[in-house]
C-alpha cells in the first residue's frame, strides 16, 4: 500500500470527493457514450449483476418496455419470450460509467445526462427522469410510457442538449447542489428545489433554442411539472464524483451502493470493481391509497449512489419536509437519522452545509469499518415499486443496506493486504 495507514488512504479518497468538480455538459443517446450498447441487443440494469430469471417484477417490466421502445419486439409476449430466451445481454449500469434509477434499465437510444468530473477527468451517465405515475423505471410499459420515452428522445433531450451547448461550459453542479440543500432538498426523496434551480439555469438558454414553440412549451411544462427531475442528474453526479475518488485503489471508503431487487451490492475503494453482495431488504414506508406493505417490491435501483455521496437518507435533516413521507416521525427523527449516519462516516463535506443542522456539512465517506464496528447500516431514502411489473410506484420509505456486504468487503480487503 502506498499510504502509511488505512486512515490516510481513506483521507485521500474523501479528498477526491470534496475536491470534485462535476459539470452537466450534455444529453446524448446512451449508445454514443456507452459502446457496449452498440454490440447487439444489450440492456443496462441497476445493481450488481443479475440474470433475467432472478429479476423482480419491476425490472422485468422495464426490460419489456425497453424492448418495445427499441423496436426489438412488437408486443409484450414477444418481448418476454425474447428476454427469457437469452437474446438480450444484461450489463450493470455501474460497469459502464452509468447509474440507473429503480430498474435502471437503459437501452441504446435512451438519452442520458453526461456529467463530467473535471477534477479527475471522468464522465458518468444517467437516463432522464420520466416524472411520476406509470413510468418505465418502475416497470410500466404501456403505450403512454413508451410514447413519453419517444418524446423525451425526440424533443426533450435535444432541447436540453442544445441549451447546454449555449452555456459557457455546462452547468456547475456543486453550486446547484449547495443552493438546493439550503432549500430543503436531500436529493433522493426530494429534489424540488434543485429541479427548480435547474429550470432557472436552463430556461434562459431554452428560450434561445431554435425550435417549434409548442414543443418548447411542452419542454418547459415537463420540467416545471417534474419535481424529481434533478434526481437523475444528482445520480450521475454522485457516480462521476465517486468514480473519480475510487481511482485511488486503497482504503475502506464505500464507493458505490446499489440494488438489483435481489442483491444489495457495495464497492469499497480498496477493492476496485469487485462487488460485495447480500440479499436486499424491503423498504418500509408510506403507501399510496389502495396499496400496502404487502405490495412492496424489494429494494431496487442505483439511486443509493446519492447516499454513498452523503446525501439522500444521510441528509434527512436537510429535508424535514419529507421525513413524514418516508415514514419517520418528524424533525427530531430526521436529526437523529443524520446524526446516526455521521457515526459511520469519516468526515463532513463543507461544500454542502445544511442550515437546519447548524450548518454542518453533509456526510462524507462511509467507512465500511465503522459500519461493521457499530452495526449501523446506511439508511437509504427510496421510492417503493409495486412488486408486479407495470403497476409503477406505490409508495416511498426508507431501507437499510445489509451489513453483510460491508463484512464481506472488509474480509476481502484484509485478505488482499495479507492480514489474514
Amino acid at each position: 500500500m502506498q499510504y502509511n495507514s488505512i486512515d490516510e488512504a481513506n483521507r485521500a479518497v474523501i479528498d477526491r470527493i470534496t475536491g470534485s468538480a462535476p459539470f452537466l455538459v450534455d444529453v446524448v443517446p446512451a449508445k454514443s457514450k456507452i459502446k457496449e450498447l452498440n454490440e447487439g441487443k444489450v440492456l443496462l440494469h441497476a445493481g450488481p449483476p443479475i440474470k433475467w430469471d432472478d429479476m423482480t417484477g419491476p425490472m422485468q417490466g422495464s426490460c419489456i418496455g425497453a424492448s418495445l421502445y427499441e423496436g426489438w419486439a412488437a408486443n409484450e409476449e414477444e418481448a418476454e419470450k425474447m428476454l427469457a430466451g437469452g437474446e438480450v445481454k444484461f450489463i450493470p449500469c455501474h460497469h459502464v460509467n452509468a447509474v440507473g434509477p429503480m430498474g435502471g434499465i437503459t437501452s441504446a437510444n435512451m438519452p442520458v445526462f453526461v456529467v463530467e468530473n473535471r477534477s479527475t477527468g471522468n464522465e458518468a451517465y444517467c437516463i432522464m427522469n420520466e416524472g411520476i405515475g406509470k413510468v418505465l423505471r418502475f416497470g410500466a410499459y404501456s403505450d403512454e410510457v413508451i410514447n413519453r420515452l419517444k418524446w423525451m428522445q425526440d424533443v426533450l433531450a435535444p432541447t436540453i442538449a442544445k441549451a447546454l451547448k449555449l452555456t459557457d461550459d455546462g452547468l456547475n453542479l456543486n453550486v446547484m447542489i449547495a443552493k438546493a440543500i439550503t432549500m430543503g432538498d436531500e436529493f433522493h426523496q426530494r429534489n424540488i428545489a434543485a429541479s427548480l434551480i435547474f429550470l432557472k439555469e436552463i430556461s434562459p438558454y431554452i428560450v434561445q433554442v431554435d425550435m417549434d414553440e409548442k414543443e418548447r412549451h411542452e419542454v418547459i411544462k415537463f420540467l416545471a411539472d417534474t419535481d424529481q427531475f434533478f434526481l437523475n442528474i444528482m445520480m450521475a453526479t454522485g457516480k462521476a464524483v465517486l468514480d473519480g475518488a475510487r481511482q485511488i485503489e486503497e482504503g475502506t471508503v464505500v464507493t458505490a451502493m446499489c440494488r438489483n431487487g435481489k442483491d444489495f451490492g457495495i464497492r469499497i475503494s480498496g477493492m476496485g470493481d469487485e462487488w460485495f453482495t447480500a440479499p436486499v431488504n424491503t423498504p418500509q414506508g408510506l403507501f399510496f391509497t389502495g396499496y400496502s406493505q404487502d405490495d412492496a417490491n424489494s429494494d431496487i435501483g442505483d439511486s443509493a449512489i446519492t447516499e454513498t455521496f452523503g446525501v439522500g437518507g444521510f441528509a434527512m435533516i436537510a429535508a424535514p419536509g419529507v421525513t413524514r413521507f418516508v415514514g419517520a416521525g418528524g424533525f427530531s427523527d430526521a436529526l437523529s437519522t443524520s446524526n446516526e449516519m455521521t457515526e459511520i462516516c469519516i468526515d463532513q463535506n463543507s461544500n454542502f452545509t445544511i442550515p437546519t443542522w447548524d450548518f454542518q456539512g453533509t456526510c462524507l465517506g462511509i467507512d465500511a469499518r465503522k459500519v461493521v464496528e457499530t452495526g449501523i447500516e446506511p439508511v437509504i431514502n427510496t421510492g417503493i415499486a409495486h412488486k408486479k411489473a407495470g403497476l409503477g410506484q406505490v409508495g416511498a420509505g426508507t431501507v437499510r443496506a445489509p451489513k453483510e456486504c460491508f463484512e464481506k468487503a472488509l474480509e476481502a480487503y484484509a485478505k488482499k493486504l495479507g492480514l489474514i
Partner: protein, 580 residues
Amino acid sequence: MIHTIIKKNSYQDSINLMLLTNEVSAIEGINKVQVMMATPANKDIFKGAGLYTDELETAESNDMAIVVDTDSEEKVQEVVDKTEQYLKDQSISGGDQAFETVRTWDKAIKTLPNANMAMISVPGQYAAEEGHAALDRGLHVFMFSDNVPMEAEAELKQKAHEKGLLVMGPDCGTGILDGIPMAFANVVKKGRIGIVGASGTGIQEVSSIIDRLGEGVSHAIGTGGRDLKDPIGAITMMDGIKALENHTQTDVIAIISKPPAKEVRDKVVDLLHSVSKPVVAIFLGEKPEQHEGNVYQAYTLAETAQIAVDLVRSNDIKEDYNAGDYDVEGVTLKEGQNAVKGLFSGGTLASETAVLLSDALGLGTSITNEDGYVFKKDGHEVVDLGDDKYTQGKPHPMIDPETRAKFIEQSAQDEKTAVILLDFVLGYGSHDDMASALLPSIEKAFAHAKSEGRELYIVASVCGTTSDPQDYQGHINRLRDAGIIVKDNNNEAVRTALSIVGLHVDDIKKAHVDVPATQNDLSVSDQVQAFVNERPSIINVGLKSFTNALTDNNAQVVQFDWRPVAGGNEKMRKILSLLK
C-alpha cells in the same frame, strides 16, 4: 411450557433488562421469565434458571432473548407486549435530553472535544478494551465495570500512570469529582476534605457523614477494590494522594481501604508521611493503636469522617471517637435467641459490621469473605448481598429489594435471630425509596416473630444526605414508624445491635506519636493537575442512567450508547483490529 422469543439486533443494557424482567415477572400466570441479551455468559444463566431452549442456542450476542415459562399460551403475547411497551416508554422518556448520544469514540470526541474523563460501565469482558480506547484519547477513566481480570487492570493502570492519567476502578462504584456524584454516590457539599478510597460504600458512608457533620468533600477518588493488591501496587491510590496534595482547595486527605498487602501498605503509608496535609486513614480490619505524625488512623468509617472533620476545623483530635452509650432499654430475648444477622447492600458496610462483630466476640478484627458471607459463626451472619454470588442475573440490592426481602423473612424465621441489621444507601444510582420497598418484608418479619412469641429487633442506618435525590429524613421516619431502631451511622447501628445481644467492642485510646516526615516525590502530571482543578467533562460509555447525576449537576456529558464491536462477532472483531 417454555416459550422463546428472539428479538434480532435489539441491544439493551443489562440493568434495563433486569428491571424489565422484574416487571414482566409480575404478570399473573407466569411461572418464570427472563429477558436478557443472548450472550454466551447470559445463556449460561438461562441454563441455570432452567430456561434454556434450542431457539436460544442459535441467538447471537446482539439479540434480545425473552424466555417465558407459562402454562397458558396467551400470556406469552402479554409478555412481548409489555416488553415492547417498556422499551418504548424508555425511548419516549429519553426524548428530551440535555446531552447528545453517540455510538463511536470518534463522534464522542467530536461532540465533546474538551472531555477529560470516560465513565465506563460496559460488560466486564469489553471494559479493558474501552479503557485503553479512552486512555489512548488522553482521557482519565472512571471504570464502573467489574469482572475485569487483574492483569488487565494492572496493564491499564501502568499505561495510565505513564501517560499521566488516572484509572479509577475497575469495579469503581462511586466517586465525587468537584461536587459531581459519579455512579452510586451521595450528593455531598463541596468542601475541603479530599478522599481516596478503595471501596464503594466506604466512600459513601464517610462522605455522607462529613456532609451531615457540616463539612464537605473536594473530591472523592475511587480506586477500585484491588488497587492495593500486590500486582497493582496502589498505582491509583498513590496518584490520587498526590493529586489531592497538589489541589489547593483540599486541606485534609482521607484514605479508605481494606487491609492492603504489607509492602503496598508500607509504600502508601510512606507516601502519606511525605504529604504536607493532615491525613486520616482507615484500613478496615486493622485496629490501630496510635496516630503517627500527620497520619491519623481510624478504626471505623464514622471515626474516619469525624477525625477528618476535626482536622479540617483544626480541633484537637480525640483519643477515641467510638465509645458511647449504645444500650437499648427493655430488651427481652428468649433463651438461645442471641444471633445478629447483618443483611447488607453495601459491601464495605458489611465488612465494617463483620469486623466489629468479630472483635466483640474476641475473634480479632481480621475477616474473610466466604461464599458471600463476610462473617458466619455461632448463628451470627453478615451477608454482602451485593456480592457476585447474589447478583448473577439480578440487579444490585441497592437497586432491587427482592433478594434482601427474602433474606429478611428467612432471618425472622430463625428462632436464634435476635437482631437484624440493615443498611439503607441513598444517593444517585440507588432505589428511589428502599425503605418503602422493604417495609412489607420487615412487617412480615416482625409479625412472624410475634406470632411465635419472640421479640425481634431491627437496627438500621441510613447512608445519605439531605441533598440526595431520595428523602433522607423521610426514610428515617418511615423506618422508625415501622418499629426499627435507626442510628446515625453503621458504626452506631452495629454497636447498638451488639449491645442488644450483650456484646460490646473494647476500644483503644490512641495517643499521638511523632514520626519523621518522608521525602517522596509528590509532583503530578499536567493532566492530573487539570483533572482536580477543572470541572469534569465526561463521556459516559454504557449505562445511560449514570447521566442523571451528571446533568443534574450541570456537568458536560455525552452519552456513548455502547454496543459490542461488530455485534460481538469475533471474526469481524479480529478483522477490524487488523484494519486499524
